[in-house]
Every structure is written in structure tokens, then in C-alpha cells.
Symmetry: C2
Subunit: 687 residues, 2 copies
């Protein structure tokens, strides 16, 4: 096989016959990953994520291929990583790469004929058969050419050395020193490169974090003897921050902190009549005291807000605020910019409705009357809060606003402020939810709260850890002010442990709304939300007394967050593997991170076994695909149960007993001796 000249994919040499435009290169390279569906927006990743780069690469005939992923970091360093076939005969090549720099990465796939490997394959067979011996060695020598690299030149000489036996000459072709030399001086041909791809790498918090949500007006709220309330403030709420931080949370999310409208203000339990002292829903934004760029006066002024942010930071907490693009009838925009709403024929402004239901406390925004003006104003508001120190926005109901608006807003904001993160609170049909993530939202709420059975969870975990992880990063909230599922209402304390453990281990981001740790489980009848919902009233929780009483789930949440902090495998989403049990309610899944990608250099492997039936004690056997953890089938290994500290020896098939009334969940860490997998050089490619 002769050395081919490198032929690029552009058939420029064919002119004038080449009027026909080529859509494929000399070596076909197809179906690159990570990529969004339709390759419409760049895939999204985050600092520290281990991303499987994949492509289908094949060629005519039997010649072997070299396939690499070539990556250029945002700062301009280009590295090449060899890829491997995911399975013999698949034509699918893969390489896991950990992203170590925030920003826009450019990458592509580079394929070439591996002429040396092809020759070696042929030579092994023909020399063994005594076929064309001198021709074979002459071909090999020709491939190696007149290289000045010592190992290559020496091998070439040996191949041509008729004094040696054929076997000895062939052995020199297999010399590892030659292989090492060829790694940097490859014998290749037909070099073909895929089109350039873009990969957006966000800061880690965009996808990895433990979230806690509380209403600042409730923290430190006091009830007078006449039953009236004095609102909590940023100053009183700040006192709660050490407690939240102590549970190990990273992000504190505040519902809207703006003035609340008076007109059609909602009363307790979503009643349409509010008493004079009812505080109203924070999502009914805007009043005499201002709109989206103002603070609710009862919470304090900007100095107080700043103090709160400072205290949060001092406690290691980042504050997320709500971006709810809707207005109370009292919002300043209503009079200043009626064109941003829908006017009815009688000149009144259309309130929200789902006929015959009316939501008269809310005016939805019309994005189409003055899109330029409205975009400028929303951008101003976002910039306003960024200037105040906010860099995470939890976006309320983004699916009720145009998708192209979000694409534009997030694009423009991230261009100026790459650290700003947007979380989409969309519960709607899959195309909109996926497209919001695709168009820019760094995080998304998901259907996790309604996935409770083993089968539902297996399907859900498969979905979120599969190809959708190229752009969709779920934040698994266990509850919200809007969501208290039947599973929590009727599952007892076990349900709260089960859901927290699932959320904290399955996804790099999870979240808890205050009161979860108190097992608040009574719903407003006929609804799926808490009775006496905090959205419409103050809620006083005596955290100190509860902590003393020993009846809180806080220690459990604290332990979950500590496990998350100590196990880098839990900061990955794509590394989730499903395993098996003989019981319909015992869910088994794993999280594994190769030692090449951990700070310690040791593999990090967790086995999570969950009894998803909160009313039962279950004994069964679990069956593991040990290769998912870098082990071999049949291996024995030690495990540490991270919730209780127990230690056992496990294998492929293991007995478990999960008593929902004590511990419904095992989180087992495998005690890896030495990383069993091959160790690619950490974060380094060939330059």
C-alpha cells in the first residue's frame, strides 16, 4: 500500500468537472456528538463535565482508520485526542474529554487512513503464511519513508534487513518504540476533517448545585397578638442563611422580591379576595412602589438587599432571583407602556385567563406589539439586577413567552456576562421544554416530581442522561411552592428521604423548597400544593426549636449534600447507568467517574439502591453490570454505605434489605483499590 498524498475533502482538483458541490469528504464522517437536534444551536456543557465525543466514521474497503477529536479551547489551545471504536463493526468512534475551560470551544473530527496499521494487519497474516515476504517488507519500508525519527528509521532498516529472519523483521514492526514514534509522526493518508462544531462550556454552577428556596418575607416574620403579621426582611432573612449553608446548599433562590400589586390581590389559599393585611403573591409583580427593578418596601431597601447578598456570599451561598415577566394591574408599565400588554376593544387591558377561569391579578405581557421596546426594557432589568450582584435567574413560566425572545435575551446577556445562568421553570410539552434548553437556558425544571415508580424513574433517568444531556440540564426540585405531589402527601417521612436521595444523586443539580425538611405534607384539598400556601401568606417556621426536637430531615439533607461534595461522580449527568433488582420497587442505578477525571486520580463509583415504595420493607437481590464501574464481571469489592457508614463486601449479585421506615436508600461507594480502567492522561491531548 503506497503512501497517499493527503487529500482534503474539497475536490478542487477536479475543476472543471467539479461543478457539483460535495457534501461528504474523502473519508465519510457523520452524526457528530455532542450536538443538539438539527445542530440548530451549539451543544452545552459545563466546567468539569466529561463529554463523550462521538462520530460515525467509515471508509470503503478494508483499510483501517485513525480518528481523532480536535479541540480548540476558548483561550486558543488546540489538542488532539485519539478516538476508539465503541464496538467492533459499529463504525462509531468515541472519546471522553473533560472540559476544563469556560467559554466557546471549537472542535471537529479528523479522520485518516491508518496506513501503518493496515499494513501491519496484512503483514501479520502474509508473513505467517510465507506469502510475498519481501514485497510485504518492502511495502512496509516504503510506508515508513525516509524519516529522521530514530525509531522509524531503525525499523525501516530492520524491515529491509534480509539477514534477519522474517519473524524478527516482523517483530520490529511491532516494537512499542516504533508505535510511540508513529503516534507523533503518523503514517496516514486521505486526511479528512468534519465541519467545525461549537460547544458552549458554562461555569460549573450552571449545571452543578444544590438549591434551596425560601420566601424572605417569612424568615423572621412575626405575628402580633391581634393576628396581624410583620413581614420578615432581608435583614431577618439573612439570619436564616447560616442554617441553609450548614445543610450544604450552594444556591439560595428567592421568589420575586418586587412590590406586589393591590388590585385583585389574592388572599389565603388562592382565594380571590384578600384581606387588608394579606401580603399577596410575590408573582403579582408591580405596584405604587415600582415594578421589576424595585424592591418590596417591607423587605427593605437596596442596602438591605446588598447586606443579604453579602451574608449569603459569606456563607458560601449564591443568590438566585426570579424573573417573572408578568405584571399586576398596578405595575408601572401598565400606564407607562400599555403597548406591552394586550388591549381589549373597550380599552381595558386583558388579564390572564383560561376561559372561563380568570386570573385578574395578572396581566400577561404581549411580546409582539413593541418587541424592540420590550426587549430593551427586559434587558435593562436583567442588567440592573446583574449590577446588583445577581448572576442566576430562575425564570417563571418561560414557555408562555416567545422562544425567540429567550434565545435573544440569553444570547445577549451571556455575551456580556458569561457567568449568568438562567433556569427555565417550564412544565409543558416536550418540544417547548427541549427548545427552551436548546435556545439557551442553562438549567431546566423537569417532570421529576411526577416520576415516582421504578419504571417511571428508569425511563426518566435514561432520558436525562442520554443525548438530551448535550443541551438539557435538569434541576431536580423535590418540591416547590406549586408542587406537593401525592407521593409526598401520602408517603410519610420515607417519601421525603426517597425523593431527596433520588434528586441529590441522579442529577448534578437538585433543589428543595423550605418546609420539605419539616415534612410539610398537607395539601389544599383537591390541589397539588401546600395548604395555606406561602405564596399568599406568611409562614413562620421556628428552625431552632425544630432542630432541637430532632424531628427534622435537615441532617439527612446535610448528609446528601456532603456526599455530593465528596463524590465528583455526582457532578456528572451522563455517567448514570441503570442496573437491576428482582423487586418491582427497588431501583438500582450507578454513577461512575474514571480516575482520569477525578481530583484524586482514583475512580469514583457509587451504587444507589432505592426502595421507591415508602410503605414497605423489602428484601431482594440486586444485579450489577460491574463494567459500568470499571470492574470486571465476577469481581468482589468493598463498599461503604455513605448514609450509615456500614461496610460490606459486594459482587455482581447482592442481597439488600431496605426498610422504608428507617432507611429506604443505600448510597454505596465502591472502595476502588487502583483504577481498573486504562488511564488516559488527564485533560491532556496530543498537541
Amino acid at each position: 500500500m503506497p503512501t497517499h498524498d493527503a487529500v482534503r475533502s474539497e475536490p478542487a482538483f477536479l475543476s472543471p468537472l467539479a461543478a457539483f458541490p460535495a457534501a461528504i469528504g474523502r473519508i465519510p464522517i457523520r452524526d457528530l456528538a455532542p450536538q443538539q437536534p438539527e445542530n440548530r444551536w451549539p451543544a452545552a456543557s459545563y466546567l468539569g463535565e466529561v463529554v463523550p465525543f462521538e462520530a460515525t466514521v467509515f471508509r470503503e474497503g478494508h483499510g483501517l482508520l485513525r480518528v481523532e477529536v480536535v479541540m480548540t479551547s476558548p483561550s486558543g489551545t488546540t489538542s488532539r485526542y485519539p478516538m476508539r471504536l465503541v464496538g467492533s463493526g459499529t463504525d462509531r468512534w468515541r472519546r471522553d474529554v473533560q472540559l476544563t475551560e469556560q467559554g466557546a470551544w471549537r472542535w471537529h473530527i479528523r479522520a485518516a487512513g491508518d496506513d501503518w496499521a493496515s499494513w501491519l494487519h496484512t503483514a501479520d497474516i502474509k508473513i505467517e503464511a510465507g506469502q510475498d515476504v519481501e514485497l510485504v517488507f518492502a511495502s512496509g519500508a516504503a510506508l515508513l519513508g525516509h524519516s529522521k525519527v530514530k525509531a522509524i528509521a531503525e525499523t525501516r532498516a530492520a524491515l529491509l534487513d534480509v539477514q534477519l529472519t522474517a519473524a524478527a523483521r516482523l517483530a520490529r514492526a511491532h516494537d512499542p518504540r516504533l508505535a510511540a514514534a508513529l503516534a507523533t509522526h503518523p503514517v496516514e493518508s486521505l486526511v479528512t476533517e468534519s465541519p467545525r462544531q461549537l460547544l458552549r462550556v458554562e461555569r460549573a454552577r450552571a449545571a452543578v448545585g444544590s438549591w434551596y428556596e425560601f420566601f424572605p418575607r417569612s424568615e423572621g416574620a412575626k405575628q402580633a397578638k391581634d393576628g396581624s403579621w410583620i413581614s420578615g426582611t432581608f435583614r431577618t432573612a439573612a439570619r436564616r442563611l447560616p442554617g441553609v449553608a450548614a445543610m450544604g446548599f450552594d444556591v439560595l433562590y428567592l421568589p420575586p422580591i418586587h412590590p406586589i400589586g393591590q388590585t385583585f390581590r389574592k388572599g389565603p389559599n388562592n382565594s380571590t379576595v384578600a384581606g387588608p393585611d394579606d401580603p399577596g403573591s410575590p408573582w403579582a409583580i408591580g405596584g405604587a412602589d415600582g415594578g421589576h427593578d424595585a424592591l418590596h418596601p417591607e423587605l427593605g431597601g437596596f442596602a438591605d438587599f446588598s447586606y443579604f447578598l453579602g451574608q449569603a456570599a459569606a456563607n458560601g451561598l449564591e443568590v438566585a432571583i426570579d424573573l417573572a415577566l408578568q405584571c399586576s394591574p398596578d405595575h408601572p408599565w401598565v400606564t407607562e407602556h400599555p403597548e406591552w400588554f394586550t388591549q381589549r376593544p373597550d380599552g381595558s387591558i386583558a388579564y390572564a385567563e383560561n376561559p372561563p377561569k380568570k386570573y385578574q391579578d395578572i396581566y400577561p405581557i404581549n411580546f409582539d406589539n413593541d418587541p424592540a421596546g420590550l426587549r430593551a426594557e427586559v434587558l435593562r432589568i436583567v442588567e440592573f439586577w446583574i449590577a446588583k450582584g445577581i448572576s442566576i435567574f430562575r425564570v417563571d413560566n418561560p414557555h408562555t413567552k416567545p422562544l425567540d425572545f429567550w434565545e435573544w435575551l440569553i444570547g445577549v446577556v451571556n455575551e456580556r456576562h458569561p457567568d449568568v445562568v438562567f433556569l427555565a421553570e417550564a412544565f409543558t410539552r416536550p418540544p417547548m421544554m427541549q427548545s427552551l434548553a436548546g435556545a439557551g437556558f442553562q438549567q431546566s425544571y423537569s417532570y421529576f416530581t411526577w416520576r415516582n415508580t421504578k419504571l417511571e424513574l428508569e425511563e426518566f433517568f435514561t432520558e436525562i442522561s442520554g443525548r438530551s444531556a448535550d443541551y438539557f440540564h435538569p434541576n431536580l426540585f423535590v418540591n416547590t411552592p406549586d408542587i406537593l405531589t401525592e407521593f409526598l402527601q401520602f408517603g410519610g417521612p420515607a417519601a421525603y428521604k426517597i425523593r431527596a436521595a433520588l434528586a441529590a444523586t441522579a442529577s448534578p443539580s437538585w433543589g428543595v423548597y423550605a418546609g420539605y425538611e419539616l415534612f410539610e405534607h398537607v395539601a389544599r384539598p383537591g390541589s397539588e400544593e401546600n395548604i395555606d400556601n406561602e405564596k399568599y401568606e406568611f409562614k413562620k417556621r421556628d428552625w431552632a426549636a425544630i432542630a432541637k426536637s430532632g424531628t427534622s430531615l435537615a441532617p439527612y439533607l446535610t448528609r446528601l449534600n456532603r456526599i455530593r461534595a465528596e463524590h465528583p461522580a455526582l457532578a456528572q449527568l451522563r455517567n448514570l447507568s441503570l442496573h437491576w433488582s428482582d423487586d418491582d420497587s427497588i431501583l438500582v442505578f450507578g454513577k461512575h467517574l474514571d480516575g482520569a477525571f477525578t481530583p484524586s486520580g482514583m475512580a469514583d463509583s457509587l451504587i444507589i439502591v432505592v426502595n421507591v415504595d415508602p410503605h414497605s420493607v423489602r428484601e431482594t437481590r440486586v444485579h450489577l453490570d460491574l463494567t459500568a464501574f470499571g470492574l470486571e464481571p465476577g469481581d468482589s469489592y468493598g463498599v461503604t454505605e455513605l448514609l450509615t457508614g456500614a461496610e460490606w463486601t459486594w459482587g455482581e449479585h447482592n442481597y439488600v434489605r431496605l426498610d422504608a421506615f428507617t432507611e429506604p436508600v443505600h448510597i454505596l461507594a465502591i472502595q476502588h483499590p487502583i483504577p481498573a480502567t486504562t488511564r488516559p492522561v488527564r485533560n491532556k491531548g496530543v498537541r
Copy 2:
């Protein structure tokens, strides 16, 4: 809801904030079909095909949508076809359109807010509830605007007519005359158009045809008393054409008709030594008499070839020839263009090999030494045969040549000769087979011959009739000179009926290699091809005597081809539906074409029931999804068994008895009374 101005997807109005490029329009339109994977090449269709156009279209909030596919024919006529949701809540829209003009179609999806439908939905609820009555009617009137269209202006007046009851005013909004007027004068907003798509529509024969293969040298070959052979010629072979045509075949495919090499010529049964009278394999192309642009002298000259083509045409047969880009060592290229081959270090030319096996009769072409020269030569050869009257090329082993070569060749040839069809004879891994079809091959061989069990066939039929039909059109050959499967070797006559009936009904293209109708079933031991393979020797078949003996399958093949000709549903691939039986070997599938797309205007529906076990008599029940045939669940209907003429009454669940030793297959035509489905206007959209 006010009338929105139409907002295009380009956010030009946002300048100077709009530096960020938009990838999505105001109304998101995603995942268009038909499309190839990656949208790398245009999808391919053929004249008469009914193509499902689909897209995922959705919007924020609850407003209703109008979605249309807009198609511009090659001759420049633009039509708009309304699409429908494939299912409530799916966001997936679909419209079946029959392609009626050969050439490049341009199409896109057009979406808009259906403001009138949204208003009507709200109005129905609010008027019923007595809510905002005058406001609702005023909004409706505002939507209708000051139209001069009579039905619209009258409705507007009625909506505002307070003398009428609310119910009467609402009734006017539902008036069919208004709906008709709005169909051409829509009340819509936010008009968004998808990017333009291309769809290549080939002539019908590119995807619909019955193929027959014979070796012209065998037809009319004579054996002398000394055992030596006198080759058949184009003139003697022409005598067989009426017989082939009488069986109902459309395409006659000839193995290579070029001079055959002498060097390392293969003898009978692929032996490496040929006797002096052995004719050699037609695929060992080239000798003293010429190469790919020459005729084998024993077959005749160009006048004889022209006579043969004329006789074929007179019999309604189109002739396909073989394009096998490989050479015998005696091919003129070997001396004239050694750069088109791979030279070994000793100056010799590399023959084909799969070490340690050698194929010394064949020199593979090297496509990389002089790609421009080689491309020009192959193009010259293809043009040469096109000039001789050939417009179908069956391409031998295209997967052993570069994909980008085929992309270029087929592209250039079809640009000049849109009627030319290439059939890919590739049996290799899926990415290459799919990419060959994607890059331009109009037809492809498939794995059909090795799909014999019910489960295998169900999976295979699902694959070929699914999304791959956007570009992959299989030709289901039942046998070839290379393929005599175990199923045929050991299945007896029933196997031959089964496979022919499957191929002829499942796919619009199918094929038979001569001898199949004679149940030739003895394989060379250890191989999957006929003993005394015709590739290496003459084969005399006395068609007239066999026909008289009554032992031929020809009448069965004739009947199958007649059924194909009479049932337009069989000229479609995507219309295949799978049904059920209680027996592991009784396969049930359907083919259905709506009356909107048939010449008669009547729906054409076939139910094919096959006993795929050729050694058994089976009785079972078959279960049909009658909606796949435009019927309702529970319907009764008459069926005609097209192989035997029997008539029965069938329903959803039916008894069958299939005796492999007499008739292993039912092909049932449903006796439709009146087309049960709604009748879209044939081939017409809204202009």
C-alpha cells in the same frame, strides 16, 4: 386578542440590540420531514410517491396555529397544503402529498397564529358562560377587520348586531361560508417560515419496477457434441425477451457485457484454473478486445447490442447494465493508466486480496493516485453507455470505492441526464449502505435475502418503510448469481413462492435472477451460491420445454407482477403496516393507498398473509388494525384473494389456513365500497 402584524423570523427590528443571530423564528418550526439524517443531502422521492411532510411546530401559551407545507414544483408552480396535528398534544404536524413532477422540488413549512380559531375557541366558552359578551364579539369583529369579502363583512356585522341573541351572533361565527372565505383570506399573525428544503423527485422507475437478470451468453448458448460451448449472443438472447416480458418484468439487468480477461481467469465453480474453453467471469473486465467501453466479441457488436435494446424496448423492457469498476489484468487501463491501480514495490500491480486469500483475476482501482483523471474516464464510460441507450446502471460493490466518488459521479450524471438510475449493490455495514443511498444511489440492494423469519421480516419491513424511505429505496432481489440462501436451498418450492410474494408486495422494486422460476436450489457445497455458477460457465435452460412441463414458477411470478401492475398501493413503500397473527410463522402486513392518490379515485388496500415456514400447514387467526386501511374497527368487508380468485368476508379477526405445499401466501384485496377516508383534493393545494 388583537390582530398582530405579521412578524418575520428575522429580528431586523431589534437593531442595534440584535447583534445576536437568531436560529429560531417567532413560531418555532423544527424537525422537518422528509429529510436525510443531518440534512446532508436532499431527500429523494419518485413520481407518484405519496410523501408524508411533517414538522414539529409549537408556540408559547395557548393560541392555536395554522401550519402549511408550501411546495414549489420543478416547473415553478407553488401550492400550499394545510397540515394537521398527527395527534392531540404532540405538536407534530403532517400532510401527505403525492409528487407529480420529476425534478427538484423546493418546499418549506409556513406557520402562523390562527387568530380566528383561537378567538372562536374562547368565544364558545365565554358566550356559553355569559362572560364579557360584548367584548368578545367586539374582539371577533376587530379580527375580521374591514374586509370587502362578503361572507367576512356580513359576519362582522352580525357579531356587532345587538338586536340578535348572543347565540345567534355566535352561530354566524361558525357559518361554513365564513370558514370558506377565511381559508383564502386568513386571519393570522406571526407568520414564520422554515428554511427552504429540497426534495429530489426521480422518475418512477427509479423506485418502482420488477427486475429480471440473465446472462446473455447463456441465452441461446449451444453445446457441441465434443462438449464445447458456443456462446449465446445479443441476437439469441433477444429471443428470450418476450418470455421475460410475458412474466411482467419491467427491467432486464445484464451482468457485465465487456471483454473478459484471460490472465488468472476463473474456471467452473470459482476454481483458480480455467480450461481453454471456460468463458470466465463477466466481472473480470477487460482484455485484448477492450475494457469498460467495449463489448465481449462473442456477444456481438454494437449493432447487435442496439438490436437487443430495440427488442427489449419493443417488449416493454428497459435494459440495465452493470458498472463494475474493477479490471482483469488484461484490461487496457493496466498498461495505459497504471496510476489508476496500486503499484507494489516491485512494480507489479496489486491484485485483490483478503490475506491470505488472493483474487489474482481482479485488479482493484486506486481512486487516489489520479482522482481527476479517473473521474473523467468513468464519466466518459457512463456517458458512452448512456449514448448507446442505457439509463439504468447496476453498480457492483460500490462500498469498495470512495463514497465521495459516487456522490460526484451520480450528481454530475444526473445533472445532465435526470432519468439515469443507479442501483447500489452494497452488502456491508449500515452507515456505508445508508450513505451510498444518501449520496445519490436511487436504489439499493438490501439484507432482504437474509431476513426470513417472521420477526426478522417485521423488523426489516419496519426499517425500510420508516424514515429511511426518505432516501433509501430497496430493490428486493430474491436471488442473485451470488446469493442462494439456505432458505431457498432447503425450503422446497414453497420457499420460492414465499420469497417472491414477499419481495413483490413489500417493496415497489423487486428482482429475480434467471433460474429462480426453475427452483434451482443446489448450492456449491459450503457456499451460498448455485453449484456450477453461471458466473463461470454457460447455462442452458430450455424455457419452452419447461413451460410445457408445467413445473415452472413463471406463472406465479407472472401473477405477482400482474397484481403489482393492478394495485397502485404496491408502488408505495411508506404505506406498509404490520398486523398480527397468533402464529409465530404467519406474517401479516398491509399496503394501503387512499383514493385521493389512486388513478381510479378508489382506495387500494391489500392484506398480505404469509406462512414463512415452507415446511408446514398452519391455521391461525390474524388480527388487523382496520384503520390502516381506511376502515373502522369492527367493520366487515369483502376481500378477493388475488392469487386464487377466492372471495371472502373479513373483519378485524380472521381465520386463515396456509398450506405451504399448495399456497403459502394470501394476497387479499379489500373490496372498498366508497373510499372511507376523507378525500383531500388529488394533487392540488391551495395556490
